[in-house]
């Protein structure tokens, strides 16, 4: 049934966007912005496949999370301790990822730029009335709930928000600003790594040179759309995910491609992202100290 596959597709497409956005929300609340999410997605996707082929799907997921956490740590250290330009560091991450993964694929599997992940290494799906669904859908919602709770109802959440709004005030109150911000960066990296693993050993079941196809940036747009509220990240993920899945389904449908050329269908997620981001932003207010290193003499 077309509807079922559309809904299921949207749910599946939502997962990487929501998980990545949720992690980045926490990080940005604390004041660290990571533009390099796209790169983290790609590298984690790659290491996840290696992990899965060595030890099964769970090992793959773990490999992805650890890779993401490590990359998040590097970005965090540069941003917080070296006070480097966060955007530059993020952009560097993206470029680095492209190179590492391209070479890695060729080196490991011999095939140029593309490798299909065997069923044996993929995350098993649950059967639902709509069809086979990945358990990661539930994980995504749970992570959003957990992050929301963390930010709103715990002392740690208070500290994170203070570091993002006024790190000097947080420092005066005895909060260790560097550590809190670093935690945020690692958290975002770890969740993004999980999302990357999902891309390769679950949903798309391949690893290519350009697997995320801009999803890291769409996740950033989701962060903006969500006004740093994890629940809205779920909503945003669903919206973008809907168009993402629509594009995938439509490009294989003969009837549709006769009316609209498939290139324009594939363009849709990006156009929608643009429209949403342009339409929503009027009143978005980032934390006052977002993206700025904290310096004390």
């Amino acid at each position: 049934m077309l509807w079922a596959s559309l809904i299921l597709g949207a749910l599946h497409a939502m997962v990487p966007l929501t998980i990545t956005a949720t992690g980045e929300i926490l990080s940005e609340r604390g004041g660290v912005v990571n533009i390099g999410l796209e790169g983290i997605l790609l590298i984690s996707a790659f290491t996840a496949v290696i992990g899965a082929e060595m030890g099964g799907p769970l090992a793959g997921l773990l490999a992805g999370v650890l890779t993401g956490a490590l990359l998040g740590l590097i970005h965090g250290v540069i941003a917080v301790f070296f006070r480097g330009d966060q955007t530059v560091s993020g952009v560097g991450l993206n470029i680095l990822a492209l190179g590492v993964v391209a070479i890695g694929i060729v080196d490991r599997w011999g095939s140029a730029g593309f490798h299909r992940v065997e069923r044996a290494f993929r995350v098993p799906s649950l059967s639902t009335p709509l069809g086979p669904m990945s358990p990661m859908v539930i994980v995504a919602v749970l992570l959003a709930a957990f992050t929301w709770y963390l930010l709103k109802y715990t002392n740690l959440g208070l500290k994170i928000q203070a570091c993002g709004e006024n790190p000097a005030a947080a420092d005066a109150a005895g909060v260790r600003v560097e550590q809190v911000r670093l935690f945020g960066a690692v958290y975002a990296g770890a969740l993004t790594g999980l999302a990357g693993a999902y891309l390769s050993i679950d949903w798309l079941a391949t690893i290519t040179e350009n697997l995320p196809a801009g999803r890291g940036f769409i996740a950033l747009a989701t962060v903006v759309f969500s006004r740093l509220n994890p629940w809205l990240a779920v909503a945003g993920g669903l919206i973008f995910g809907f168009f993402d899945s629509l594009g995938l389904i439509a490009s294989t449908s003969q009837q549709l491609t006769r009316i609209v050329p498939y290139q324009f269908i594939q363009m849709m997620p990006y156009v929608v992202t643009l429209l949403v981001v342009a339409g929503v932003i009027g009143r978005f207010r980032a934390p006052a100290a977002s993206g700025q290193p904290y310096r004390r003499e």
């Binding site: 533009i35 540069i78 952009v91 492209l98």
Partner: protein, 384 residues
């Protein structure tokens, strides 16, 4: 704290210290870049070693392929040409305070315009070439404007909007190359540009065309604009202190738009250079391989060149050398072309940590020594 008039010798001492500080600053920048490059190349060597390649042989091939002989140098310069332009896109925007990573998309649109115009134009070669370049530049500028307007009116982060426009341009190009601009004689690429609009190879057998002069010209033009005109002065201030710009009587909105228009212009010209400056085909391939990742490489170029047009030219030659030499690397040591991308990425990350250098210095005790000499100097006015 200047309760008494300053002695002449104190002023001279301060002047000498000032000159020394400026020199240290410039040398420091070069040192930072050098360290970043060494780290990048070092990491590349490590990766190659781990993957089982002979990195020494590979780097030897790299040097030979980029500067070994006249053809190699020509190849290097040909590779550098589009990089100068895409580097300017990022560098100029960065100077004005924006992260414009839309060079890729703007370049694609420029290339499309170059094909559309160049395949149908007629007239003397000078006119044909100029008009094609202009059309491409204007197209790129038009493509760059929406992110600027979105930023100015709705506060949309330009990183997100430019990436989206990149992807939209990508798919638009795919569509056009296979439909409207398709060459009936060869379905896998676009129409070819008419002979009048083509740039010939300056050195037979190598890829270099007159496009390099166009690129250098654009770079010098932007240098002149930024440092020798009042509008460029305003653009620089916009990047450093937008509030002061309003006080100075300029409209920041104006600055944003002008910056993005110029950036798009450069990107569009880059796109054109990869079509009309690419013997022997002079067309846009269906896989857009003319354009590759030149947009993103431009970011590396701009960062290494410290967002300064002259620096960008030098950095573009360096990265162009990496690209030109990569072919020789592949031949001599069997290393895949994408190896250079690892070097790029690592260099950028290394460049992103300006305080790493001073941190390193502190670890080596350099600062301690400097602190002791400061203790001997008389108290100076507190900088506020």
């Amino acid at each position: 704290m200047d309760p008494r008039p300053v002695e002449q010798w104190e002023l001279e001492t301060a002047q000498r210290q000032e000159r020394r500080r400026q020199l240290r600053g410039t040398l420091g920048s070069f040192a930072e870049i050098a360290v970043a490059l060494v780290i990048g190349l070092g990491v590349g060597a490590v990766v190659m070693r781990v993957a089982g390649y002979d990195w020494l042989l590979a780097y030897e091939g790299l040097v030979m392929g980029s500067f070994g002989d006249l053809w190699a140098v020509a190849d290097t310069l040909a590779s550098a040409t589009p990089l100068i332009l895409t580097g300017l896109v990022f560098g100029l925007s960065a100077r004005a305070g924006y992260f414009n990573i839309g060079a890729q998309g703007q370049m694609v649109i420029g290339a499309l315009a170059a094909v559309a115009v160049g395949a149908h134009i007629s007239g003397p070669p000078v006119v044909a070439v100029t008009v094609t370049f202009l059309a491409a530049g204007v197209a790129g500028a038009i493509w760059a404007l929406p992110p600027a307007l979105l930023k100015a009116t709705r506060g949309v982060h330009e990183v997100i909007s430019t990436i989206m426009f990149n992807w939209i341009a990508h798919y638009t190009a795919l569509y056009l190359v296979f439909n409207l601009l398709n060459d009936p004689r060869s379905a896998e690429r676009s129409l070819r540009v008419v002979p009048e609009a083509r740039l010939g190879a300056l050195i037979p057998g190598a890829d270099m065309t007159a496009a390099i002069f166009v690129a250098a010209g654009v770079a010098l033009g932007i240098y002149w604009l930024l440092w020798h005109s009042p509008w460029g002065y305003e653009m620089r201030i916009a990047g450093l202190n937008p509030s002061a710009l309003r006080y100075a009587g300029a409209n920041p909105l104006w600055s944003v738009n002008l910056t993005f228009i110029l950036a798009g212009l450069a990107a569009g010209i880059a796109g054109a250079s990869q079509v009309i400056g690419r013997p022997p085909t002079y067309a846009l391939y269906g896989d857009l391989s003319n354009l590759g990742d030149l947009g993103f490489d431009g970011i590396a170029v701009a960062l290494i060149g410290r967002n300064h047009p002259i620096g960008i030219i030098l950095a573009a030659v360096f990265i162009g050398a990496l690209g030109a030499g990569a072919r020789m690397m592949q031949i001599m040591a069997n290393v895949p072309l994408d190896m250079v991308r690892i070097v790029h990425g690592t260099v950028i990350i290394a460049l992103a940590a300006p305080e790493a250098w001073s941190l390193l210095g502190k670890l080596l005790g350099l600062n301690r020594r400097r602190g002791q000499s400061a203790a001997a100097a008389p108290a100076k006015a507190l900088p506020q």
